[in-house]
């Protein structure tokens, strides 16, 4: 027998021990011990064969043999402890059987892994403290806005909306002009704009997009219709930062253009979307509002997802009005029963024209929602600034 044959035998001993111990039960654990680790056990016999090897070989092979012995002893002790624990829990039938979970004792898994030197099994006794903490595994987290955005995107994709993207540093044409914000129109005052020190091809200062709506234009211009897209992304407005304002925030824009699209389609789509997000009891209502790129325009409110929209007074009159004075007011919807969630409307004919489509033939709807608001509602975040503080004490909770 040369050294490598000996090693091979040694590894076989390890393997057969591992299958024997995994099926061992309290009634035959002693036999297993005797078979492998007894004075005339397999390992002892193999070690006796070392006598015929050179000094160097003896050193190496002896070390390997002793290592295996250590592993076998440890595994055996662990098994004994396990059986003792099972007996204590009454789950041990006392009969030997194959391990249902296919577990194997440490150190014998085809000889590849090594026993855990701190192996708790070996040290554990019948008095296991099961309340000790389990091994920690690294736990990361996704940013709440990512999570909110992912939910919104997934929901809308179910309704046949494809994702479209656009740049952050945008041309005036896409951000305003083509969206029916003519130059010198007061509607431009509605969105405080950052201008960037670079110019577009026509020599105009470029700007940081103030909404995700330019992606409407980029997607529609020269494109084949029908078209159904969403555009999630980051937008910028020159506003001072406080608990409910940020100069950087996120929107999701939706657009559907086809022949004879109506506002009823829009309402159905938002209904389906909101029900998917907040459950089938969520309701949607429309009120008139203004965005230059839609006509008619609608502000979309959803029934309060926290109080279930139980309060139905249409508009609240403030603390002096005496309305709902003593009943508990929902802090999220302030007792109105409704939450402002989206802006929407029918694509303005000027927008279709700017994209080269005939508004007599095509019509469409568009909608947009702020993702921060959704994330704040979802996770109970009270202050916008938290989104960019990145306090891991908070993020690790997500």
């Amino acid at each position: 027998m040369n050294a490598s044959e000996w090693k091979e035998k040694l590894s076989r001993v390890g393997e057969s021990f591992s299958s024997a111990i995994s099926g061992a039960a309290s009634d035959n654990i002693a036999e297993v011990e005797l078979q492998f680790l007894g004075r005339k056990g397999e390992l002892a016999l193999l070690l006796r064969d070392l006598g015929s090897f050179t000094i160097e070989e003896k050193k190496e092979l002896g070390r390997l043999g002793n290592e295996l012995k250590g592993r076998l002893v440890a595994a055996l002790e662990a098994k004994k402890a396990e059986l003792a624990a099972r007996r204590a829990c009454g789950t041990d039938s006392g009969k030997s059987r194959p391990d249902p979970a296919g577990r194997s004792a440490p150190g014998t898994d085809s000889g590849k892994s090594r026993p855990d030197p701190a192996g708790g099994g070996a040290k554990a006794s019948a008095g296991l403290d099961l309340t000790l903490s389990g091994r920690p595994f690294p736990k990361g987290s996704l940013h709440p806005i990512t999570q909110a955005m992912d939910r919104v995107t997934a929901s809308l994709m179910k309704l046949g909306f494809s994702v479209a993207e656009g740049p952050h540093v945008e041309e005036d044409h896409f951000n305003f002009e083509a969206l029916n914000f003519p130059a010198d129109h007061p509607a431009r005052d509605m969105q405080d704009t950052f201008y960037a020190g670079v110019k577009d091809a026509s020599g105009k200062d470029m700007l940081l997009r103030t909404h995700t709506s330019p992606v409407q234009i980029r997607s529609m211009k020269g494109a084949a219709l029908p078209l159904r897209i969403i555009s999630p992304g980051r937008v910028f407005r020159s506003e001072a930062v406080d608990a409910s304002h940020s100069f950087v925030f996120h929107q999701v824009e939706g657009l559907y253009v086809d022949r004879s699209v109506s506002m009823a389609d829009l309402r159905w789509t938002l209904d389906a979307f909101i029900k998917d997000l907040f459950g089938s009891s969520a309701r949607v209502r429309f009120a008139p509002t203004y965005f230059p790129f839609v006509e008619p325009g609608a502000q979309v409110e959803i029934s309060c997802v926290f109080c279930g929209g139980t309060s139905h007074s249409s508009v609240h009159l403030g603390p002096q009005s005496g309305c709902s004075g003593k009943s508990e007011r929902c802090p999220i919807c302030k007792g109105t029963g409704w939450l402002e969630m989206l802006g929407a409307g029918m694509v303005h004919p000027n927008v279709l024209k700017a994209c080269g489509h005939d508004p007599e033939k095509w019509s469409g709807f568009a909608f947009g929602a702020g993702v921060e608001r959704f994330a704040m509602l979802l996770f109970g975040i009270k202050d916008m600034r938290m989104f960019y503080e990145n306090d891991l004490r908070v993020w690790k909770q997500l």
Partner: protein, 813 residues
């Protein structure tokens, strides 16, 4: 805009209760920001006169005042400092109801007080100085209801001359957010009209003074470009010196948040603007050279001192009002200093004009002046309103100074504007809304807005002059929905099914995020806008960066070129809050200036610092994160991607330490870099410990690999042998310079090698200097048979030979 309920009621025959208005406003798209009561139900307060003031015997700061209400004299205790004998003051008798409640008889420092002298606040008036008592106009009738002085005169019915005063208190104040399309609602009059049109209420037109048609011409008016000023109405009045603002008008202006000056010639313009929505201006006729009015573009080099005293240099072509010599007002924005009215003004020229929106917006922007006037003109005013507003002003002036004379009434209105005619097809309106309204229902709405609409089909809808926002059938559809309520729109659809897809970039990003989070990294968001010091700290080139032209502050002046500075900030933020372990990543956009604009790139970057995993455990097992830890993370992130490998960088990657950085490749392209963050950048970012490991992945390269065929994106399974495998360890000594990756690559050519693990790397005792000991574990497996000892031996011999021959390795004894 603020709206007073009482003022609104001036124009509605039977106004709805204030409590119903917020709902009614919201239904029309008028955002209600706040609604609250103003004032209080005050009764029992009369006009009194202070006859005598004595010192309080027991208190230095109190006085004993004799107040007469015309019938009796009462002694009251008063703490105000602004009292004087002869003043008329609001006097509350015992039993009066004030803003705070009922007034009771009281002893103050031992002296009985038979009433109280009130401040404006106690009378329920808003916007007044409440530090002392309210001093009334000397003309107020003694003994009269003091609160009534502050109630506006009831609109006079035409023909009747009696001006009853009504006291509609408490009042309500609504703060409305009015979007640009509804700017025709920027006044009490217009808002009342809107409520009447949409809720079927009876509208009451303001009563306007008839002006003499035969008045002459004192100051001729000329307009050079009627496109910029389509209408200019001017009224000249004389004999107005000392005209004072009545209390009721001042009270309303104060409640609107305006600050009345007391001079009626100034205050009346604001009052009429809030009432009718038409901005006007009064010039002092004495200071108009000519006198003459020229509406013209400014010429080169002209300047004007504005009302607020600031000298304005006018850009050539700015629309101005000029007299014979010089500009006297920035048209529609602000009046000039020299022609403004003062307390000594006797004659005025009242300007009530219509200016082009773009002209006013341009002057407002160029001059940097924003006024209530420019706000309204920019949004468009009703051209039919100029004469009404002029007559209203004249009427208010005549009411205050009945002896004043009207010397000129002129109206430059060469061409009435052409209004669009919109084909109001009910089928189209229903198609837009997805509704099935009857023709009658739609007609009722259109007719409410335009009473002159003929029922004959096809309906040709000409909007009224104030509705310049209505241009097409979509606009009419919105009106129909507003009229009937948006709830009319059903939730019903026959939208066809469409396939939905994401983009390679979005998919690559989502996968990367998910994997990093699963490996213990927390996702963070940082701002795209960064300070200059970020570049300096991280040794980045700021000349490549896009700078904002109008940053909020120097902290947010540039667009970021890298995610590293933000991540270091996140690290510092968390270390400062007691954390010892930070593993974070961010996916975001970085920006670079290019020759023809800018380039944006999506990047995923992250860093790790401190023990990993961060939780300490009773069994131990947490280690300081290091290069190999991050390398392992990257291996896991890219696991299964075809063509992924690490390579040594040809140049040192920016912000990574030389010799401690690797490049990650995907196929031919570079996917990113990882390594020890440049200690200089770390130290510059106010961090002490430089053991920060950083990675950066270019998402476009990842997305590129997503674009390949479907088959390339999904890992393909290789079969495994059903025969037992055999393993063998081998320890060798090799020169330090020999790299493991080379050996690994070489050894992989061994037949039947299923795995090769490097299980130990050792330097130190027993290993010669400049060398290291590597222990390799070979696992062999053949598909068709069990590996025999002889198989394994021959392969291990080959392995050793390869190592000896190619890498100078020696078997370790």
């Amino acid at each position: 805009m603020k709206i007073l309920y009482s003022w609104l009621c001036d124009f509605i025959e039977t106004p709805p209760p204030a409590e119903e208005l917020p709902g009614k406003f919201a239904r029309l798209g008028l955002g209600v920001e706040s609604a609250g009561r103003s004032g209080a139900a005050v009764t029992g307060v009369v006009v009194g006169r202070i006859d005598k003031i004595d010192r309080h015997p027991n208190a230095d700061k109190l006085s004993l005042v004799d107040v007469s209400d015309g019938a009796a004299t009462m002694r009251v205790v008063c703490g105000a400092k602004n009292i004087a004998v002869g003043q008329l003051i609001p006097f509350a008798r015992v039993g009066a109801v004030l803003a705070e409640g009922e007034l009771k008889k009281a002893k103050i420092r031992g002296v009985e007080s038979e009433g109280m002298i009130c401040s404006a606040g106690e009378l329920g008036l808003e916007g007044y100085d409440n530090s002392g008592i309210l001093v009334l106009d000397p003309s107020a009738p003694l003994g009269a209801d003091a609160r009534a002085l502050f109630a506006p005169p009831e609109q006079r019915a035409s023909g009747s001359s009696s001006a009853r005063r009504h006291v509609a208190l408490p009042d309500w104040v609504f703060e409305l957010e009015i979007t640009p399309n509804l700017s025709y609602c920027l006044s009490h009059y217009a808002l009342a009209r809107e409520l009447c049109v949409f809720y079927g209420l009876k509208f009451r037109e303001p009563v306007l003074t008839e002006l003499p048609k035969s008045a002459g011409t004192v100051a001729p008016v000329s307009v050079t470009d009627p496109c910029l000023c389509p209408r200019y109405t001017a009224v000249v009045m004389k004999g107005l010196e000392g005209a004072k603002t009545p209390d009721w008008m001042a009270a309303r202006l104060r409640a609107m948040g305006s600050n009345p000056k007391g001079n009626l010639l100034i205050d009346v313009s604001n009052y009429v603007m809030y009432e009718l929505g038409q901005p006007t201006h009064c010039f002092d006729l004495a200071n108009l050279a000519g006198p003459e009015i020229k509406v013209r573009p400014s010429s080169d080099g002209e300047s004007m001192k504005a009302l607020d005293g600031i000298e304005l240099r006018l850009a050539a072509g700015t629309l101005v009002i000029a007299d014979r010599e010089k500009p006297v007002a920035l048209a529609g924005v602000m009046g000039g200093f020299y022609s403004s009215v003062a307390d000594t003004t006797d004659s005025v020229l009242i300007e009530s004009a219509s200016f082009a929106q773009s002209a006013v917006r341009a002057s407002s922007r160029k001059s940097g002046i924003k006024s209530e006037s420019s706000y309204r003109f920019e949004r468009g005013t009703d051209i039919e309103l100029t004469m009404k507003a002029a007559r209203r002003i004249a009427g208010l002036l005549l009411e205050a100074v009945p002896s004043a004379g009207v010397e000129q009434v002129s109206d430059n209105f060469p061409e009435p504007p052409r209004l669009p005619v919109v084909a109001a097809d009910p089928a189209r309106i229903n198609a837009i809304l997805g509704t099935a309204m009857t023709d009658e229902k739609i007609f009722a709405c259109l007719k409410a807005i335009q009473p002159e609409l003929s029922p004959e089909k096809p309906w040709q809808f000409t909007p009224p002059s104030y509705r310049r926002d209505i241009e097409n059938v979509q606009d009419l559809a919105e009106e129909a929905a507003r009229y009937n309520g948006y709830d009319l729109i059903p939730s019903a659809s026959s939208m066809p099914v469409m396939p939905a897809s994401s983009t390679p970039l979005a998919e690559a990003e989502a996968e990367l995020r998910g994997r990093l989070a699963a490996l213990g990294f927390s996702e963070v968001y940082n701002y795209d806008l960064v300070p200059l010091k970020d570049f300096r700290n991280c040794l980045l080139d700021e000349t490549q960066a896009v700078e904002l032209l109008n940053p909020l502050s120097s902290d947010y002046q540039y667009l970021r070129v890298s995610l590293l500075p933000g991540l270091l900030r996140t690290l510092r933020y968390n270390l400062n809050r007691g954390r010892t372990s930070v593993a974070v990543f961010e996916t975001g956009t970085v920006y670079h200036k290019t020759k023809d604009g800018r380039k944006e790139e999506r990047v995923c970057a992250g860093l790790t610092y401190g023990p990993f995993p961060e939780e300490q455990h009773w069994r131990g097992g947490s280690e300081m994160s290091d290069f190999y830890h991050l390398k392992g993370v990257m291996q896991a992130v890219f696991g299964g991607r075809r063509g992924f490998r690490f390579e040594k960088p040809k140049h040192r990657p920016a912000f990574l330490q030389e010799g401690a950085a690797l490049v990650m490749k995907l196929g031919a392209g570079e996917a990113g870099v990882l390594g020890l963050a440049d200690p200089m950048a770390v130290i510059n970012s106010d961090l002490k410990d430089t053991q920060v490991y950083y990675f950066e992945i270019t998402l476009s390269s990842l997305a590129e690999s997503w674009k390949g065929s479907f088959r390339d994106r999904v890992p393909q399974v290789k079969p495994v042998s059903s025969y037992p495998a055999a393993w063998r360890d081998l320890s060798v000594l090799v020169d330090d310079k020999r790299e493991w990756a080379e050996m690994e690559k070489d050894l992989f050519s061994l037949p039947d090698l299923a795995r090769l693990d490097l299980i130990d790397v050792y330097k130190g005792k027993g290993v010669p200097e400049g060398q290291r000991s590597l222990t390799l574990r070979f696992t062999f497996s053949a598909m068709e048979r069990t590996m025999t000892d002889a198989d394994v031996n021959s392969r291990m011999e080959k392995a050793l030979k390869k190592l000896e021959a190619s890498f100078g390795a020696k078997l370790r004894g």
